[in-house]
Each structure stands twice: as structure tokens, then as C-alpha cells.
Symmetry: C2
Subunit: 349 residues, 2 copies
């Protein structure tokens, strides 16, 4: 790939269709100088769509895929079509070294299953995790993982997630020493499951790692901007992420109800519209788009199915940052460092 | 107690002090005809405070307690002072049959430990659960449990929580056949832990119970008004509850920032104030105050530590409703019914 890395894009994934995917990639192309793309999907459709984007066209190659993974395909069905679907072939390009990362807005379960099967987990990582960026009151977004790849996790999984999440925050948020915390139901040392307590004990001693371990954090402080990385099992992570999404929408719905409840409040709303638009912008998932499967031998980014052009461009921007920063190498170094300090027996206990 | 039940109130618990507690009880007294109170705490202070509330004074007796459980007391310390603290003596009044329910705004961990030790779990219930009312887009609040009493739960615990939660919703929300769902990370039958899947299988067949089992619900749909009771283990419940609280506050903070960002938006805010006040009212925890320990031989209600007069009155209102509806009997009947149908061996497997 040389000096000019290439990102494989599953052009057919996503609810918004090929045109939005291509517009998003074209936008990402303008934002990431020298980045090249492998557009995977129906060749004729992609070629036609590229006519609108000469700038992207010049930086892209097309890889034809006769099939598409649909939103309702089960992961077990999808993996059987790894060599014929746009999603499968985008991942395969990463495996073959033909692309430095893959981006897809398709079916999450299928993307995770295909990525695991094709790319396999990195040495030293028992299980990959799904990490995403969430808005916060702080100066930067925060990284949260695992968001649903692993329903149950032991202490080793959580420690590995912390190492991977911190490396990811250093890369994407450009922090030297991200503040890391474990999601728990209290901040006292006695709180929570044995897995969480054991992970906390191990991370507390790992002061040589490029992170600052802050202990436990509770659900009500997730978005306060006090930490940069929040680590949890995939069950609690998924519950927390979706509850946060649902509550933000709930408050938004109540606000809408309130603002339309009288003429007076409608007028007030119109006047303060620039302010509420700012809020909408801050909470818009498109501005935090790009969840990442960490811990695989290759970079895979999940764009939200309903992401718009800006969202797709952000997801590709996340992939570009990870490629440029050589994220996989950082994770490997940190893990090796961790094991060298505590001894491989303990690390793999 | 006859026709005029009595509620024991830990008058010294809560961050807002005795005056707010008494004002809340006085308000509850006006809202609940014929309800009587046992005010537990420092006798001289309570007597002085009651001078402002002649109406409450006439319906109350005072039980002197020389000590107070503080916010920083560990549960293990608190239980040793069960016979001298206002919290301990309020619970003890329930145990002795001297009050039909106890209400405290004190230290949650201590209240839970003391209640369990003194009142013990009901026959047929393995573990008590903490249940609370949350706002929703639907016509009524929803009941969620467990919110932190049990970090890990098996299928039997979850089934018992569902039965107790439904009985609670019938009582407090006055629903004939509450819709019940298990909190999960997907709605397909294959999703989640074995415990959740087993509980779902059992509840799906229990169509004779006065509830409608709706299967799984995800975090983003908690407040949509689609179900009346959400059942989960105490770890996920605590994470979800606190994440929802934190997100509502987060959105509120962003809104405040947005509204104060320019003169124009400040003016818009002032004009639409009645609308935003409505929203504030709907989300105000005081209007949903009163978490309940379900599954004990006696009713114990936890009022939020920072509850105001309205909040305290609501918590006492919850206790009054449970007393009037004879909640414990309802739970026992439903559990017996469940066991009679599936056989005690299965129920206790």
C-alpha cells in the first residue's frame, strides 16, 4: 500500500443507499488528503454513481460484488457468502492486505461474525470488542467498549478492552494519556462483580501503560467529561448505550411536545431555534459516527445504518485515523508491555 | 391497626433535614384521608417541628430514636444500631406490626441491609428487589426492578421480580394487566444471557398470571410507554437507571448552554419558559419518588435523599397505596398461582 493507504468501503451497506455512501466517501476524500478507496459492490451501479464525484473517482478502484448482506440476514447465513457479498469482500480486501481498513454500514451482527472469522483476533486478545464514540460535556468525545460483541466477560477480557480502548482514544481523540474507568454500580472498591473488581485491581497497578486508570464510574456520570474511555462487558455496554440514546430521544420528544403546546411556546421555540439547532448538532449521531471492532488482525469500522453523508465521512475519517496511527501496533505494544510487567502467567490466568 | 393504618417515617433521614420531611408528611396527610403516622427520630426536634403542622400532629405519634444512620455509614455498621437509630426503629415498627409500612430518605445500602435482616424475605421469594417508578411517554409511569439490590440474578430471581413488579404495577399504577418485559440487548429469542432466556421461556407460558408478558425490551425503548414493568438484574438495572438520569441531565445541561449562548436564544427561552417548565415538571424525580423493596415481610419505601416536600409526600403516597391494596397478599397469591401451574419443583429449580 506504500505511502498512500487504501480503505475498502462496502458501498452497498446502509439503509440510505449507494448514493449517500458515495457522497460520504467523496466528502471523506476531500477531508483526508491522499487517501485512496476500494469501492466494493455492484460495479455498474458504482460506476454510474461515481460520475457525480470525479474527485473520488480518481482516487478509487471498484471491486465487483454480485451480492449484498441484508439487514435481516442472520450472521450464520452471511458468513457463508463471504466471497460474494460486498461486505464479505471488503473485509477480505483487508485480510489480503489489499486495503488497510474496511468500512461498512451494513448489518452489525453479520459484520462482526464475518470480521472475526476472516481476520481472527490479535495475539494476546481473547475477544474483540465493539467500541464507539459518545458525546460528552468535556472537550472531546469519549470511547466506550464493549457495546455488545460479548454478552459476558471475565477480568482478562475487561483488562484487554481497557488497553485497546486507551490505544483507540490516543489515536482517534489524540490524547497522550486517556483517563480510563470501569463502568460499575458504585465507586467504592467493594462494589460490583468479581470480574470488575479483579480487572480494577490489575489496572490500578499498571501505571506504566499510557493511560490513567480512574477506577469505577457510574452510569449517571458517563457523559460528564470526567473520563475518556469507559470499559464494560457487552451486555451492560449495550444497555447503557441504548438507554442513553433512548433517554436523549425521550427528552427531545418531551421538549417537542412542550414547544408545540401553545402559540407562545411555538414563538419562543422559533426565536431560540439557532440554540436548539446547536444542541441537535451536538447530539446528532452522525457527528460521532464510526464504531470500531477492536482486537482483530485488521481494522473494521461500522458506520450507522442510517448515517447521512456527514456520518459516512466521519466513519471513514475514523478508519483513516486508525490507519495513519497504526492502531494495531499500538495495541500490541501496550499488551506486550502489560504482560512483561505482570508476567504472562498472570496476564493469561 | 384496624381501619386506620399507620406509616412509620424515619424523620431524620434525607439530606434536606427534618423540616422538609415533616412538611412532606403533612402534605401526604392531606392527600391520604385517615392515614396515621409514627414519626421516628429525636423526640424534642420532632415535637418542635410539628408545631407548624397541627393537622399532622393530630394524626401522629412520636417514637424517640437517640441515633441517626448517616450517608457514610456502611450497611454493616448500621445494622448493629438497628434498635437505636431512627431508620432501624422505623423498620422495627413494621416488624412488630406497629406500622403497616416504613418510609426513609436515608442511606439506601443501610436501609436495604436493615430491612432484609429485620423483615426477612417472603415465602417463595429468594431475594428482595428494589423497584422504582420512571417517567415514560405513555399514560402512566413504568415500574423497573431490580435497581441494585442484587448484582447477579438467576432465572428464578428474574421470574420472581416479574411477579412482584406486576403486582406492584397493579397496585400503584392501578393497571389490571400490566405489560411486563425483560431488559435485554436484542428482542430476538436467541439474545442475552441464559438466565434471561430461561426466565423468558417460563414467563411466556404463565398466561394465567394477571400480567401480559411482552418478551424482551432494549434500552432505547425503556421510556416509550410500550410496557409497564421492566425486569432486570440489579447490575443492568442500576446502569440503565443511572444512565437515563445522567443523559437527561446531560441534555438539560446542553440545552442550558444553548439557551444562554446568545441574547436571541435567551429571549426565546424566556418566552417558551412555560413549556420548558412543563418538561422540567415531567422529568422532576420528585414526581416519581418512592422506590420500594419488594419481597420482604413488610413494606419499606425509600425516598430520594434530596427529595423536597412534594417528593416526600409522593413516597408516602406510594406506601399508602401499597398498604391499602395489601400488596404483600397479592404477591403471595400470584406466586402460589405460578407454582401451582408449573409445579413447585420447577419453580424452585
Amino acid at each position: 500500500m506504500g505511502s498512500s493507504p487504501r480503505i475498502a468501503v462496502d458501498a452497498m451497506g446502509g439503509d440510505e443507499g449507494l448514493a449517500v455512501m458515495l457522497a460520504g466517501v467523496a466528502r471523506a476524500r476531500r477531508q483526508n488528503d491522499g487517501m485512496r478507496f476500494l469501492l466494493v459492490g455492484d460495479e455498474a451501479q458504482i460506476r454510474a454513481g461515481l460520475e457525480k464525484h470525479p474527485n473520488l473517482s480518481a482516487a478509487s478502484e471498484i471491486l465487483h460484488a454480485p451480492e449484498v448482506v441484508t439487514a435481516t440476514d442472520k450472521p450464520s447465513q452471511a458468513i457463508r457468502r463471504a466471497k460474494t457479498t460486498s461486505m464479505g469482500l471488503a473485509i477480505d480486501a483487508v485480510k489480503r492486505g489489499d486495503a488497510a481498513a474496511a468500512v461498512s454500514a451494513g448489518n452489525t451482527g453479520a459484520l462482526m461474525a464475518m470480521s472475526k472469522l476472516s481476520l481472527r483476533t490479535m495475539p494476546g486478545i481473547d475477544r474483540p470488542a465493539l467500541a464507539a464514540l459518545l458525546p460528552s460535556l468535556g472537550e472531546n468525545d469519549l470511547v466506550m467498549l464493549d457495546l455488545g460483541a460479548n454478552t459476558e466477560c471475565d477480568a482478562q477480557n475487561l483488562i484487554q478492552f481497557a488497553v485497546m480502548g486507551a490505544a483507540y482514544a490516543r489515536t482517534v481523540l489524540e490524547l497522550d494519556r486517556p483517563r480510563v474507568a470501569l463502568l460499575n454500580i458504585g465507586t467504592e472498591e467493594l462494589k460490583g462483580t468479581d470480574e470488575i473488581k479483579d480487572a480494577s485491581t490489575a489496572l490500578r497497578t499498571a501505571t506504566y501503560l499510557p493511560m490513567q486508570f480512574n477506577g469505577f464510574i457510574e452510569g449517571d456520570r458517563i457523559s460528564r467529561g470526567e473520563v475518556d474511555v469507559i470499559v464494560c462487558d457487552g451486555f451492560s455496554g449495550n444497555i447503557a448505550l441504548k438507554t442513553a440514546e433512548g433517554t436523549a430521544r425521550f427528552v427531545g420528544d418531551l421538549l417537542k411536545r412542550a414547544f408545540t403546546s401553545s402559540l407562545r411556546s411555538k414563538i419562543g421555540f422559533l426565536i431560540s431555534r439557532p440554540a436548539t439547532e446547536l444542541l441537535k448538532h451536538h447530539l446528532d449521531p452522525n457527528n460521532h459516527n464510526g464504531a470500531v471492532f477492536l482486537g482483530l488482525n485488521g481494522l473494521v469500522v461500522k458506520s450507522h445504518g442510517s448515517a447521512n453523508e456527514v456520518g459516512v465521512a466521519n466513519a471513514i475519517g475514523v478508519a483513516a485515523k486508525m490507519v495513519r496511527a497504526d492502531l494495531a501496533r499500538r495495541i500490541t505494544e501496550d499488551l506486550d508491555n502489560f504482560k512483561a510487567h505482570i508476567g504472562p502467567e498472570v496476564a493469561e490466568a
